[in-house]
Symmetry: C2
Subunit: 155 residues, 2 copies
């Protein structure tokens, strides 16, 4: 096989790979680690009461989905949302990643959370899905939705 | 430029594309249409009370996140979840897609829902994030989480 044929073989393989869809699969260890690191940063910023820092973890076009509210769209509105949570006395968020599935620059994380007040009392315990988008090499929050796992209050 | 050089140029371009990350962006019209069609099917199956049909819209490794419950993992458990909703008298789900962002075989949908009983009364109104995964050419639900937009009950 001469050089040109080898090169053309490489082109054929490269073309097949280009056409192959990018599968959604368990995230590479580096992706999961980067997301867990961002979550650790989230908890640190919440403990400091830094709503602007929290908002900076979100993509510009992010949407958050707080219970008992409509969709909160965009980083400035999301900053207000977290300021409200901080003002309500939430001091700690424990975030535990269950799974990260990724394809290209998009990743879906599922996990469990615990929110606590200043005295350490757990005020809510639930689960979340965060969709992450890699922007300029950094994973940013694109969608952030959660709900409680505590029983519904009696009617 | 001789043939081999042109081929090598193609290899260089193809290699650069192979190394290029797959960006997360507004889904192609076909992806959004396929997801909206799956949502229409979801509403039809719920109206018929077909929990097995609903479960078949989910990937084998799917997770659902109902409020006031822990994570519900796997299609059989998700079938039980929807059977419970059907048994509780829910007859209609109106699903309105707000946004679909996709990368490769993974797509994130956000939207709003309305759940109604047999007499047409809206019993819940809220929002959701569904993460879709393309499996064998079909978009299946990988993660399904929602919460109410109605005010919290007075304590």
């Amino acid at each position: 096989m001469d050089h040109a044929m080898r090169v053309m073989g490489t082109v054929a393989v490269a073309s097949a790979l280009l056409l192959a869809p990018v599968p959604a699969r368990a995230a590479a260890p580096g992706t999961r680690a980067a997301i867990e690191e961002a979550n650790a940063r989230f908890s640190e910023l919440l403990a400091k009461g830094d709503a602007a820092g929290l908002a900076a973890l979100y993509a510009a076009e992010a949407q958050a989905f707080p219970p008992n509210s409509d969709i909160v769209a965009g980083a400035p509105a999301i900053q207000k949302l977290w300021q409200g949570v901080i003002d309500a006395g939430i001091k700690a968020a424990k975030l535990t990643t269950v799974d990260v599935t990724a394809a290209g620059e998009l990743a879906s994380e599922s996990g469990r959370y615990e929110m606590s007040g200043a005295d350490g009392t757990v005020v809510d315990r639930g689960k979340y899905v965060v969709v992450w988008k890699r922007v300029g090499g950094r994973w940013k929050i694109l969608r952030d939705i959660w709900n409680t796992s505590l029983p519904a209050p009696a009617k």
